[in-house]
């Protein structure tokens, strides 16, 4: 890892000022992705702006039908939160199945979605639940936030402050996990909402996306049998040592059926 200047601001305003001044600054949340990346010298920022000292970025607040989770809230805290478990149990369960306990103690919601790993879990929830990503500059619809492999709608120096998750009627997330890392080989998040079912798929393609065809198939009857004839497009699927494109396409259907069945 190359040397850098380390900063620990106490407010969002201070963090924003620091990153503007830095030649090649980077925010660091729990460091659970950024530090391994820097060890490999795939990133070598001039300045690291640690968000760990900013109290306003942390915490969970329920206001009516909206569950707001601060960007710096650790996966373990979302998993253990009585508010989240009551309002959106599928989201608490998703957070509780990310990686391992030590990763969940340091890894954050903001870091996970900013990083937008193609196999990350949170992006599927942000999209399917119709969440809104709030930054220090604007609000971004969850659906528009994830733009490509490790790419997001964030501007260079933009800071995620919190994510607003609307409470669904019911929701479920099912992932076929990589047994070593627990990242999703394929994960499907299904949410029943008043206008109809919303579905997002992660792990399968370049990044998590809303699955309009799965939603259409579920318009009539929102049950697993409605997807019996569903075929995911093999040509769009990722292929790597963990799973071929054909296998991933198969998993999209199976995980979607399991998620729909669990979505009661």
């Amino acid at each position: 890892m190359y040397e850098f200047s380390y900063h620990r601001p106490a407010s969002v305003a201070e963090a924003a000022a620091l990153i503007t001044r830095a030649v090649d600054g980077k925010f660091v949340a729990g460091g659970q992705t950024l530090l391994p990346t820097m060890k490999h010298r795939l990133a070598s920022p001039s300045d690291m702006i640690d968000l760990g000292g900013i109290a306003e970025l942390e915490g969970i607040v329920v206001n009516g039908n909206i569950v707001t989770i601060g960007a710096m809230t650790a996966h373990a805290d979302v998993a253990a939160s009585t508010e989240v478990r009551e309002a959106i149990p599928a989201l608490a369960a998703l957070a509780g199945n990310i990686g391992d306990p030590a990763v969940r103690n340091r890894g954050t919601l903001g870091g996970s979605i900013a990083n937008n790993d193609p196999a990350a879990d949170y992006p599927a929830a942000v999209i399917a639940l119709g969440a809104t990503v709030r930054t220090n500059q604007r609000e971004i619809a969850g659906e528009d936030f994830f733009t490509g492999m490790f790419e997001t709608a964030l501007e260079e120096d933009e800071l995620i402050v919190a994510v607003d998750f609307p409470r669904p009627e019911a929701a479920a997330y099912m992932k076929f996990e990589n047994p070593a890392s627990r990242y999703a080989i394929v994960g499907v998040f299904v949410a029943r909402t008043a206008p109809g079912p919303r579905v997002a798929v992660t792990g399968a393609t370049a990044c998590a996306h809303r699955a309009h065809r799965l939603e259409e198939a579920l318009q009539g009857a929102c049950n697993a049998a409605a997807l019996d004839d569903f075929r995911a497009p093999v040509e769009r699927m990722n292929a790597d040592i963990h799973a071929s494109a054909e296998y991933r396409a198969h998993l999209v259907k199976v995980m979607a059926q399991r998620a729909v069945a669990a979505c009661v």
Binding site: E3, R8, Q32, L35, M38, M48, D100, A102, N105, R106
Partner: protein, 156 residues
Amino acid sequence: MLTINLAVNGQPVSGEVEARTLLVDFLREQLRLTGTHVGCDTSQCGACVVMIDGKSVKACTMLAAMADGAEVTTIEGLANGAELHPMQQAFMDHHGLQCGFCTPGMVMSGLDMVNRHGNDLDDATVRRELNGNICRCTGYQNIVKAIRTGAKAMEE
């Protein structure tokens, strides 16, 4: 260089570190607390797990600077003189180790389980919670037994 002040195993400690110094390197190289191991250095194996403010963390995936002001507990902080901590004693009694390289991390993760799930741990919970700890020797059977027994013994 940065100056950091923290508590390690109950003792106030201060040190001069580079910004890029990993917590595990600070503990091992500067404080000479070599009980915390580096198995992979890529955040997978859990040999480097320590407690920060009561929560398990991979010390190879945290900067020393991030631990400024924190309370850190390493494997060296568990025994009471010659008397092993109940979780350590359980690893000894159940032969929960062979080469011992993974053991410090296993013990710390075991303590973290007790903090969150209490003293009555079943096999499924322990195995699930050990997702982030890799052992290349034992096959885990005796590690699971040791953690369950150690958890129970901590109640007494």
